[in-house]
């Protein structure tokens, strides 16, 4: 499972500057469990962005996994319609979305930091290895 944290909000706000129809794509698996990119966080981000700029038209989608075409097919029309997509998935999700739907107007909204294993049901996570900031640039995800 991948553990990530949210990018600073002002950075996200700057990324979205100038776009009106925004799609926030949450991801329903790893980043949901680590409380950074699930439907709940996406809705919170939507409320926050709408509060700061009333003119923005924001929609939220939550495919079970963004790294799997099976779950993305249902949302194809929403993804096509939006001016810009803010993906709250890990590097794999961002890469997959970009390859299949759009190259330029897709931004990652998270910083994946760890790969983690569920150690037991009660104690939670055991951290394994760190990754880093995801930058999307022309069909390649660089991990710093």
């Amino acid at each position: 499972m991948i553990v990530a944290s949210s990018k600073p909000l002002d950075e996200i706000k700057n990324m979205l500057k100038g776009y009106k129809n925004i799609l926030i794509a949450a991801c329903g698996t790893c980043v949901t469990v680590c409380l950074s990119g699930g439907e709940k966080e996406a809705n919170e981000l939507k409320a926050l962005l709408e509060l700061s700029d009333e003119e923005k038209n924001i929609t939220v989608i939550t495919p079970k996994r963004q790294c799997d075409m099976e779950f993305l097919e249902d949302f194809e029309s929403e993804i096509e319609k939006a001016d810009i997509v803010l993906s709250l998935a890990c590097g794999a999700g961002v890469q997959f979305m970009a390859e299949h739907f759009r190259e330029n107007t897709l931004y990652p909204g998270l910083i994946p930091s760890l790969w983690a294993l569920m150690k037991t049901k009660v104690t939670g996570l055991k951290c394994v290895r760190a990754v880093g900031t995801v930058l999307w640039k022309k069909q390649a995800v660089y991990v710093l």
């Binding site: 439907e39 919170e44 926050l48 509060l51």
Partner: protein, 454 residues
């Protein structure tokens, strides 16, 4: 639904028709001394007498029980006598230079929960540079964290007194209490306007008498410090101790509403498709009302266990938990939106409805502070200038840590707003009790008038 009305007095005459009208089978039980004990079963109670066991779904006491059973403590504890004789606004603002007194009137060993709550309140008042006395028969240090609390209390200036015998007197004109506290070495007298008594020990009768005096002599201004209670800490057991028929009927209607709500098997729905099977809800549920369903890889609720506290809802990362019923929005306005916890703030809906209509306030009744998320606060701010959340006082949440959770929620909402450069000073948190309508009203007024955080 079968309900037992226990008590030998005239109240049965006017209570029975109301209950029958609402579809209850009423069982009158006037001989309270015959009851040996009461046991709870899956969805109701068993009343044991020397001759038989009687099975009933709900119990209402109209008289203080004299029997010795396992619920005695809970029922007696809630028996109408308000612990905080004077409300906290007096303690904090207008104590006339006299000390604030906490008196733990418990024979034998002090109960942990009560001591913790009293200590927490004593510390918070002492920190506001007030003189605070903490008087008890024994000093309880049984559980971890307790000794640190005593230490913190001493550091903040709380004075501790141990007593063997105490006596209270109330001067109704001056609205002042006179305490005479004795131990084996001597006695001292303390005067105060702000007195909290917890427990039901040897001074129970004197306290009851004083409260009755206060109630009868200041009937017009009663709500200031007294509301007759109806809830006990056991779901399904209620008490009715109003002075008048009107007061009792009002509380009975609240009980009926509570029972009708209580009949639900579950309050939540879990979306199998969304559930990430992360176990967060199982870990936090204070009522053990969720269990894993390994076949479908999702959690499922357990029948009749849910208490509608919202702990699971607040931690579910996948938004898989939804409520069967939405929050009840009572009134709509524009200036201020209030999320009121039903245990502390629901009094607003019932008592202050006229005031709120005039003052342009929107209210949503929530079951507990856990039930709202940062996004709810942010969404409310889109339509309203200010948002306030009313929850129980520290340590008083009848579920678990609802007040602490809402503090975190508000902090998260404020932090996120600050990151985006939005004004975060328009979110307020009011801690109150259902027995403090005047305090709640004053707090709301101050929220509406200024930008100062309550």
């Amino acid at each position: 639904m079968e309900i037992a009305l226990i008590g030998n007095n005239d109240k049965n005459k006017y209570l029975k028709p109301v209950l029958t009208e609402n579809g209850f089978d009423v069982f009158l039980f006037p001989e309270t001394e015959k009851i040996n004990h009461i046991r709870s079963r899956e969805n109701g109670f068993l009343i044991y007498t020397p001759d038989e066991k009687i099975s009933k779904d709900y119990i209402i006491f109209t008289e203080k029980p004299v029997f010795n059973h396992e619920y005695k403590r809970e029922v007696n504890k809630s028996w109408g006598k308000v612990y905080d004789i004077t409300d906290n606004s007096i303690k904090e603002k207008d104590s006339k230079g006299l000390p604030v007194v906490f008196l733990l009137d418990i024979d034998g060993e002090t109960d942990t929960e009560g001591t913790m709550i009293a200590l927490k309140n004593a510390i918070s008042i002492a920190k506001k540079l007030k003189k605070v006395y903490f008087i008890s028969k024994t000093v309880r240090t049984g559980i971890s964290g307790m000794e640190e609390m005593y230490l913190e209390a001493r550091k903040s200036g709380v004075k501790f007194l141990k007593y063997t015998k105490a006596d209270i007197d109330y001067d109704i004109d001056k609205q002042q209490f006179k305490l005479k506290v004795e131990d084996m070495f001597g006695s001292i007298g303390i005067e105060t306007v702000a007195l909290s008594i917890a427990g039901a020990g040897s001074m129970q009768d004197i306290t009851a008498k004083i409260l009755d005096d206060m109630k009868s002599k200041t009937r017009d201004n009663l709500d200031k410090y007294y509301l007759a209670g109806y809830k006990t800490s056991v779901n399904g057991i209620y008490i009715l101790d109003g002075l008048t028929e009107e007061e009792d009927i009002k509380n009975l209607n609240k009980i009926i509403a509570d029972i009708k709500k209580d009949r639900q098997d579950y309050y939540i729905n879990i979306d199998e498709g969304k559930c990430a099977f992360c176990y967060n809800c199982v870990r936090v549920c204070p009522h053990a009302a969720l269990e894993p369903d390994y076949e479908n890889s999702c959690m499922k609720p357990v029948k009749y266990k849910c208490n509608e506290c919202g702990s699971c809802f607040s931690v579910c990362p996948a938004n898989a938990i939804t409520w069967k019923e939405d929050n009840k929005t009572a009134i709509e306005g524009k200036g201020l939106f209030i999320f009121a916890c039903e245990n502390s703030g629901a009094v607003l809906i019932n008592e202050l409805i006229d005031f709120t209509k005039k003052a342009d306030i929107g209210i949503s009744e929530i079951s507990c502070g856990c039930r709202i998320r940062p996004q709810d606060i942010l969404n409310a701010l889109k339509n309203y200038e200010k948002v306030a959340v009313i929850t129980c006082m520290d340590g008083a949440c009848r579920h678990i840590d609802g007040t602490e959770k809402i503090e975190k929620t508000i902090k998260r909402a404020k932090d996120r707003m600050e990151m985006l450069g939005l004004n975060k000073d328009n979110i307020y948190h009011i801690k109150a009790s259902w027995a403090m309508p005047v305090y709640i009203k004053e707090s709301i007024m101050s929220v509406m008038e200024d930008g100062e955080n309550t």
